[in-house]
Symmetry: D2
Subunit: 352 residues, 4 copies
């Protein structure tokens, strides 16, 4: 055998060596080096747009075929086609469209992934969070942070549809997923309705007798009219920043920081004819078109968008937005910026 | 002489010893021990109320006798009678009443003491802060933080009168007083009018393209209507805290903390018949009655107050407030809480 | 066709519905609900121990077969057998064993994943980080944080072998991987040798003229003798905590926090006969045995360990450690605690 | 009377006006404007040096004339001659020299002013802080933070003398002075001797099982040999900063910040012939010469200093240090930097 070895080529010796270390759960780094440490990121997720024209009929059909009781949550997940069946809109973010029909409730539970709801269609409907009932109207942002009890209901006579945003892919990658049912369908109401908004919703004012030390915002409800009016007013006097124009971050009023430690939320307006400068960043984003139409160029892909569409901008994808219509366009988006910032992995660069 | 010494009494020897160390700038601690380290604080400031009935005529008389040009600032200082001529309303806070007549301006300057203005009477008038003109209407709070350029003017045809609050006694105790004239009477306007409010005045929303790293709030204008409405709405569903009822802190929206590092500002409402529980704290406060009437018990002193009055609550004074009228009472106050909190010297205790 | 549909069973209709939405990149949440939101985490990584008896011969063989020049880094990766070929020791952490032979250098580069080195065998050898040469001796911890230039060399006449710890799986999951070669093999030396230790290595003392605002520790070298002596001294008077006994966290002296924003490092001592109480946490860890022997029970698996072995404790695995020998055992470990803490996903619980 | 008034001169009318508002506790700002808002600070404290040749004999004489029991604390206060009898070395800092004779104890108490001790002469002696006995040897820094129980004793056969540093003038200005006697002369020992040093005294290492959330350092003892050795080692390879050369800040190892929220401590070395660049800052400082001799120019005043002397540098005084001897000089100092920094009143400028 020694002879054989001697006669083995250098490459054969290496292959034999690699095989022999397998049982010891060892592997040479140099075989994977380039793949493991590429010069810059290339997201597995792809730029993609979900058209409301496609989503809505499928969503309504679910309303006929499946009850909320059967489904627990009647949601169609937005599956990024690049991610091989991973339940994710970008590599770290999950998005879904949820439908609650008149009279239905979605029973109370809690989970370690943080969630947000952005309301698309509604005339009534509510989410209860830790004992507080929050009304849901189109354009509103409602938070159900990590480990808060929440249930939903629709007391109106029209369907309520919203966009769900969660950090599920991140929580899975970090193997920190916990889930618990409340027991009863609905949790008891222990606080005045919409009280987080009454307490924390006024700009630059905070109820001084309250102590809030949670990692997430005590303000759980951001009504659309105020957000839209602020954008409109700002757009009248400023062009905003180069890459996102006039854009507001929804904030935790107790810290001034992001609404939750894993996701940041934004609303922006694009004036008719406005075209932002292209850039990229290691954070990824899911966008929802609140009003208007236009398109975004994302890594060379042209994503045309119209009202209520959803689209994905993967990490490190060069992108810019353009409003080629004659009316203001309003975009809502949520991202993983706080994650990357906390870990010092957030980078941003203008397009070359 | 040795003999003499031997014959000296013990007390004489001590007195002689004390005298001999004087030229070396030494002094025995034991002579001052009890005075230097008392069991608890006793403020030199006293509980005191300034009546608007007294202040206003004196203020208007100043308008006849002295021009803003002559006075630089036409201000009557509220002198706490316990402080021996120190220009202070409590041991760490300064308060004054300022009058600007129609057509007058108060020329641009800046200083290291931080300042706030709470508007008492106005139909027009403005403060310009670092290039931004801020309108001033009754009940508004306007900030001119440490080292920001500011000038004032009155373009209306009625006088404008406001309450000035500054941390001058603190800045003097810390020997950190700087002052500079701008040169011209008015600074150039470099930002849209009231833009701090348009950018940072909406609850839970922040212009995402702006970076603000100063130690003070980027929001410089807190209009009264929003503050009052928030108080009213909260008072309808909650009793607030035990010692101050329904009370809002004005905040820096970028940090959630106090508006400036040396002073915190508050607005509160007392319902008819409401009486708060007595407590005390090492912070001191100056109160201004925005609306209504009532009284406060402060270290046994009954301070009756009516609309537009000002009153002082010294450090560690036991106090409670009572609205003995049939209408809501609204109080504005400013305190040195952030100073004591930063230095770990803030204590609070319910009354014995 | 309507007839056919009517004749379809409910299940058939659902399957047909699911198929039809596929092209729209939609998928019903209710199909994946339970798998996506399990009651608690179950790591894909398994408890595992790599024996130094296995690693070292394989490592030395690499020294014969591959030059550092060919390999760029001559490293054997510790592949957790549960992770299907992912280059990772736990789901978020990477570990490898690196060999640099006498006279070799590993050329300068930098990358966004943060790295640490814990020295196993050495008589000489160095890592240069951002212009500062750091000596490497057995037991030393050396940091090469996110995006710092680093190269290695061995000027002694014996091999140097160390444990590499990186956050590669995390940086990949977050799609934030950047890599750059320096150009030259070695970077120029711009600072005195070991100067981070001379400046920041003394307890409770900081060079006051230096400003350090990076997210990672300015102290890059933690020599073993001081760590070991501190553990020994503490173990003489305290039992430490219930789950980890006498355990030190390596800290960033400028913040008191973890050495880098994505990884925390620890050293602990287990006295002869000591058995820690079992617990679990959402953070995962890689352990290296500096001295001594014993075993750890991890999710029911008994991992026997001896000097220089490496073992993995996956997220949420119940574990305790036991020193069943007659000599002190010293363990080094690194974890993803800072990641989970920053995102409010860190949970810890005693074993049921 | 109207006639009389009409006949009054303008100046008379003003004087009359000023008198009439006195009973209302009002005073015109314009009378005090320039004095209240000077262009820059001018400290009331003066540059001053206390010579050990003067202090020590006076201190020893106190040992003959007054027992610790009689004096409670046998301390000679260093009275800044500019401060009119205020017990202060600068406007915000207090310093005293304390003597405890063999066999004496100074009984347990606590107070809201924070205290530090820098040991000048000792062969034995201790301070007990919150149940932990801390040995005191020459050059050691020992902390007794805000509201910690502390007592002192001397078990050696030689006197122990130290420098006391407190923030008494600040606590008085802020009217936040609390004091309490323990009851018994000595508090019970509940922790191992010097355990804060054993737990937190090693550079870059922290006992991971301990939670410390107080505003002050958990490390209470900074032995001189380590401080001196670090200075010596640094001075061999760096010139340090322009204004203070090689200077270390004593830190809170849990935050990296100052040892206490109101006072920062520093140790520095001046090489033979070294002359620092002149600058000034709004913080004030008390210096103690640990070893060596030299002089400091402070606002034009030449303060010659020798071993064990103490000298004061007032706020905003231009100063530099010079070692005109042939041996290293070591200076300890404490300042109010954290106060000014927290309140955004810290300014520093090179000399014009």
């Amino acid at each position: 055998m020694a002879d054989v070895t001697r006669e083995m080529s250098s490459e054969q010796r290496l292959q034999s060596y690699y095989r022999e270390m397998l049982p010891f759960a060892l592997r040479p780094l140099w075989l994977d080096y380039k793949e493991l440490l590429p010069p810059q990121p290339k997201s597995k997720a792809i730029p993609y747009r979900w058209s409301w024209r496609d989503i809505r009929p499928q969503m309504m059909r679910a309303g006929e075929l499946v009850s909320t009781e059967e489904a627990e949550r009647r949601v169609l997940m937005l599956m990024n086609p690049g991610l091989n069946g991973l339940q994710a809109i970008t590599s770290t973010l999950y998005a879904g469209i949820q439908l609650v029909l008149p009279g239905e409730i979605a029973r109370a539970h809690r989970h370690s992934p943080a969630a947000l709801r952005f309301i698309i269609e509604a005339t009534g409907g509510y989410t209860t969070v830790d004992g507080e009932r929050i009304p849901m109207l189109p354009g509103d942002l409602v938070l159900t942070p990590n480990w808060t009890w929440h249930d939903h209901g629709n007391e109106a006579d029209t369907p309520i549809i919203w966009l769900d945003g969660l950090d599920i892919p991140l929580a899975r990658a970090l193997e920190s997923m916990f889930f618990e049912l409340f027991g009863d369908d609905a949790q008891p109401l222990t606080k005045p309705s919409d009280s987080s908004f009454f307490q924390y919703g006024a700009g630059g004012l905070r109820p001084a007798w309250q102590k809030h030390s949670a990692s997430y915002s005590p303000l759980l409800h951001y009504p659309w009219p105020q957000t839209r009016a602020t954008l409109e007013r700002l757009a009248a006097t400023t062009a905003g920043g180069p890459h996102d124009g006039v854009i507001l971050e929804y904030t935790n009023p107790v810290t001034g920081g992001p609404v939750m430690p894993t996701m940041a939320c934004f609303a922006q307006v694009l004036r008719p004819g406005q075209r932002t400068k292209a850039h990229r960043h290691t954070s990824s984003a899911a966008y929802h078109v609140v009003e208007g139409s236009g398109f975004s160029m994302v890594d060379g892909e042209r994503l045309e968008w119209d009202a209520k569409d959803v689209f994905a901008v993967p990490a490190w994808a060069v992108h810019h937005h353009e409003n080629n219509s004659s009316q203001d366009a309003y975009l809502f988006s949520f991202t993983d910026v706080p994650v990357l910032a906390a870990l010092d992995l957030l980078r941003e660069a203008p397009a070359a």
